[in-house]
Symmetry: C2
Subunit: 368 residues, 2 copies
């Protein structure tokens, strides 16, 4: 006798999760990490104005959030010079990825991404029965030409491209992305994940028209804006595609404090400038620490730095394990040859000092 009859698709899905959270690791090791540098969180924190706005809204959480996200969408529209109907606000980019996969991916449909790129996209695609095809990175960069050629080959519904890239921190100019669109096959939507673009050099954001039906861009308050735990992301796309999200989304899913915080954060350009300066300082410091240990840091347009450990994935994993054992929460790329690297998020001096103190011993252990 059973009362729970899963769908064949649900029954077939694995129970794996894309990421194990740092709290889980802390509970397992019995103490908190000295430096939380593994999830590309923004340790420099949210805008004080965002904090104040969230605190001021705490007493109002008896009310559901505005399901239209009206005020935030208006502000984002002004910020990007687009219309509010070009914007869908959702529960982080992760939430929006799930909705997009659900709208486009039926069992057997194909998508294309880079081998070792953001696993949560793959998770959502597989969750709707889609087939994930990959192409390798080219010199540690995602390769639009290769991605689009593969998309044509497998008749992909979506191509995922992060610019700047996670986990490598590499990037293309926005102009190059736009130029590459001439090779995007008919029938394929480019999902351009710009989660880290605020941290990138000017000209990295792709100057795609909001009404361009070929592209959906994703942005977030989790990275440069320092609000990962608030869960606010948004998509920029043609109104017809934006409108479709209403068919499947959790309309009352947004936290009311998060809505207020994101609105305040968007307006605090001074804090954003401050954070980006801190990120830049931290990137330099991480590269110095790498060099001091005979390792090389990859150039980064994000709030993290990939450090090439100089050997294979097994070696980098040993270094990573050594760091984690010493209280440094970090992560590493999933696929070869990018998994010769470890990935260190930007953080304040005290956390990077802790990383600098732990790295030599972690390397020594890894070298056996």
């Amino acid at each position: 006798m059973t009362h729970t009859r899963f769908t064949p698709l649900a029954a077939s899905l694995p129970s794996t999760v894309p990421f194990v959270g740092p709290e889980t690791q802390e509970r397992a090791r019995g103490s908190v990490f000295e430096a939380r540098l593994g999830a590309n969180e923004n340790v420099f924190g949210p805008s004080p104005r965002a904090i104040a706005a969230m605190q001021a809204t705490a007493g109002d959480v008896w009310m559901y959030g505005d399901p239209e996200n009206h005020d935030l969408r208006q502000a984002l529209a002004a910020h990007h010079g687009v219309r509010a109907d070009n914007i869908m606000v959702g529960e982080g980019i992760d939430g929006l990825l799930g909705y997009l996969a659900r709208l486009l991916v039926a069992p057997g449909d194909s998508v294309v991404t880079s081998q070792g790129a953001y696993p949560t996209f793959n998770y959502h695609v597989a969750g709707f029965g889609g087939q994930v095809h990959t192409v390798p990175y080219t010199k540690d960069h995602e390769d639009p030409a290769a991605l689009f050629a593969k998309a044509a080959e497998v008749d992909a519904k979506i191509v995922y491209l992060a610019n700047p890239d996670n986990p490598m921190g590499s990037w293309h100019s926005g102009a190059d992305i736009v130029a590459s669109l001439s090779d995007l096959p008919d029938g394929t939507l480019l999902l351009l994940d710009e989660a880290y673009v605020e941290c990138a050099p000017p000209g990295t954001a792709a100057p795609v028209a909001a009404d361009d039906p070929r592209v959906i861009r994703m942005r977030t308050f989790s990275k440069a804006y320092g609000m990962a735990g608030a869960r606010v992301g948004y998509a920029l796309a043609h109104p017809d595609l934006i409108q479709a999200f209403h068919k499947v989304r959790n309309h009352f899913g947004m936290n009311r404090m998060a809505q207020a915080g994101a609105l305040a954060a968007l307006q605090d350009t001074e804090w954003l400038t401050h954070v980006l300066r801190e990120v830049d300082t931290a990137r330099t410091r991480i590269a110095e620490i790498a060099a001091e240990n005979g390792l090389s840091a990859l150039a980064s347009a994000t709030n993290f730095v990939a450090i090439d450990c100089g050997k294979d994935g097994e070696f980098a994993k040993s270094v990573l394990d050594g760091l984690i054992a010493r209280g440094i929460f970090a992560r590493m790329p999933f696929a070869a040859p990018q998994n010769r690297c470890i990935r260190i998020s930007c953080g304040p001096e005290i956390m990077l000092d802790a990383f600098a103190a732990a790295l030599p011993a972690a390397l020594k252990d890894a070298r056996g």
Copy 2:
């Protein structure tokens, strides 16, 4: 040339939303409501300790929330006398309903609910291609025997039953619910929505064993705990079913402030007691207002009261429109004959006074 190829299912879905938010109505009318009594929000607000916990966490939102919701699940397990693996925390009951529908409902699969019951369940089922079958209320109560008989007839994967019920406020004893389970067909899961159960008389919560494979119960911090805008709900069920949520959920979807707030709210039993007293006072007052206008209020085990306007749905809709025009946000049941009622959420004296002031004129207009 198209780049967005929706799945056949997504293309077929309507763009309707279950509820229009009060902010949308306020923007349309150009002024805010004097009394926000339409969404069964808890106007008495969250626990001061929950507010303080959320405010204290605001600066920490640079961190993702714990994807395991470990601390909250442990506290809920202790609260209910179950194990943590009996509990799934999610983005409100709405979010959990979406996950459950996705796990069990494939195109063509059937579910059963009451005609005019919570539309968001129907929305999620339809969103995965499921077929919603309904049975009528019996004397303004959901009817387990009729629901389960229909489930057997249509081979339903899920039966939805809210106890207490929304929108009528009626209820069954938990013992009667448990007794009715002997009629639950093999192959059908009872989804017991207990969103309002804290507001109900003792004995309303169904004493179902957490490991009982026949039932999944849903609870929320949105109603008695006054945290609708935080988005924290949870499911209680057999560990095998709980475990399956990990296959499809947005693992990092919980807001970190909401996690902290819910934990604090759960511990503040004094505030809950205070709120429930206020709810009871408000229910009595709403019934008095109804009586003063020659109408009758239905008995309620929730934080709202259905008022029988004494005629048909068209008449009740006129009364509702008259209230909304006078600054009173309210809603009404969707289906006959329950739509002879309007539904007024509990609120403080000042809001109920505003309702009392508006009702006579709204009735007069409706009577033409």
